[in-house]
Symmetry: C2
Subunit: 281 residues, 2 copies
């Protein structure tokens, strides 16, 4: 397994692989890998000749009061996990090599980005779009895998690929959960044992929505009340949002329609967790 | 010479050319080709295996009161000129095939774009950056040639390539002038015979700056006065800007330094003309 730190070297290597006729699969990550990431890598592994994983805690997608410095990192462990999954190349750049001091070009998505996480993290998706475009141009993948846990990010990346015509196929990777149902996240590490147990309520509230919809409930305000009640009962939990939106446009809906994305963000203690499910009728 | 209208087909063709190991040279244009464009094509022609020219009057770089509908078009003539220069492939898409009705992803350059043309054309460079990124992703060029006549655009594209890591080498093509010195432009067609003659004053004012600098003048406010005086004498001429800026940062300078870009935009009648020169001491 090859480890490349220099963006220029990464691009040279990618160009050479393309010239040799190899297909490139790509999984961008911020490291501190868990089974969720590994499942994305396995999805890419079976669909390409060369599998590239990037490990880069991207500073431009963190807000000024967010957890950039505290974000967990463990490169050696990540490296071993990548090797196990059969990654061919790990791209592990430094922030100062990715962003010039006078960097001035940014990519904005202006329709899907204002709601859900975009509301409390105003510049987040600008940072995500910009770094993903940069990574696409450095890694030159034929396909890239993004997880459904970051539902809004996934849809924004798909929109960027469409609107900027990137020659990259986006593959959606299903949410991977702990045995008890908690969606895997690098941020779960922040939780105390008690919080970890309580955080299960997030998944439970989504399951409850499915059950209610299965019983015929379509009214979003009733469904939201049921979720809110369940989550409000969790100690230390503060709801950032519980939203019911059209799966494509991310516009809020009043009643469950063809495909509705139910997404939530909840702070448990100081840890912000997200989860989601798509319900269809 | 192949003519492709569909963006999807263009990208497929480009991917196939790359797989076959061909290098692709690219000249993006808005058509109504003149010797200026042809000189860019010849520069690309000698540096690549396959030469692609796009002809696309990009709606998103025109402001609401600008000349989008009136912009001159003559595809058959353009086609013949491309064939003469040895273009292999003309990409000639329709606006509705380039932009989805719900397009929502845009590229902004935020340091070089606010001055010069960006001041009177606030969304212009957002449109330029976005369409050039799209064209790069569809044509997949190894190198692309941009003219020095659009000095600010050239520098913004270079910045975009750097900041978003596009695997594209940008080649600068020198300004091509009519025999009497007027910088070639598709918009020259709008000028009456009288305006055409008078428009020569733009070039003369730039030559004058060079002469004055050659004589030792360094003070920008003196140099600007001399230019303004000369252009104010042109009938029907209204100055949009005359700027002296650092060639790299486009920040205004007070005295002529290492490399200073002298750029002007002047309306002659209703036709907006631009010209520029780099002076160095």
């Amino acid at each position: 397994m090859n480890i490349i730190k220099s963006p220029e070297e990464m691009q040279c290597e990618a160009l050479e692989l393309k010239r040799a006729g190899k297909s490139i699969g790509f999984v961008p990550t911020m490291g501190f890998l868990h089974e969720g990431h590994l499942s994305l890598m396995r999805l890419a592994r079976e669909r390409c000749d060369v599998l590239v994983v990037s490990i880069f805690v991207n500073p431009t997608q963190f807000g000024p009061n967010e957890d950039l410095d505290a974000y967990p990192r463990d490169f050696e462990r990540d490296e071993a996990l990548c090797a196990e999954v059969g990654v061919d190349l790990v791209f592990y750049p430094k922030p100062e090599d990715m962003y010039a001091a006078d960097a001035s070009v940014w990519i904005d998505e202006e329709s899907l980005s204002g709601v859900l996480c975009g509301e409390s993290r105003p510049r987040h998706f600008r940072g995500v779009c910009t770094v993903v475009a940069k990574l696409f141009n450095l890694v030159l993948p034929d396909l890239a895998v993004f997880g459904e846990k970051d539902a809004q990010q996934l849809r924004i990346i798909e929109r960027m690929v469409r609107d900027l015509n990137f020659p990259v196929k986006i593959v959606r990777g299903p949410i991977v959960r702990e045995e008890d149902g908690l969606a895997m996240s690098s941020r779960n590490k922040y939780l105390t044992e008690e919080q970890r147990k309580n955080a299960l309520g997030l998944k439970k509230s989504l399951v409850q929505v499915c059950e209610l919809v299965g019983q015929g409930e379509r009214n979003v305000s009733n469904l939201r009340s049921a979720m809110t009640q369940l989550i409000d009962d969790i100690p230390e939990a503060v709801i950032d949002y519980i939203e019911f939106v059209d799966d494509q446009s991310l516009h809020p809906v009043d009643s469950i329609e063809f495909r509705t994305l139910v997404a939530l963000a909840v702070k448990v203690g100081s840890t912000r967790l997200i989860d989601n499910i798509v319900v269809s009728v």
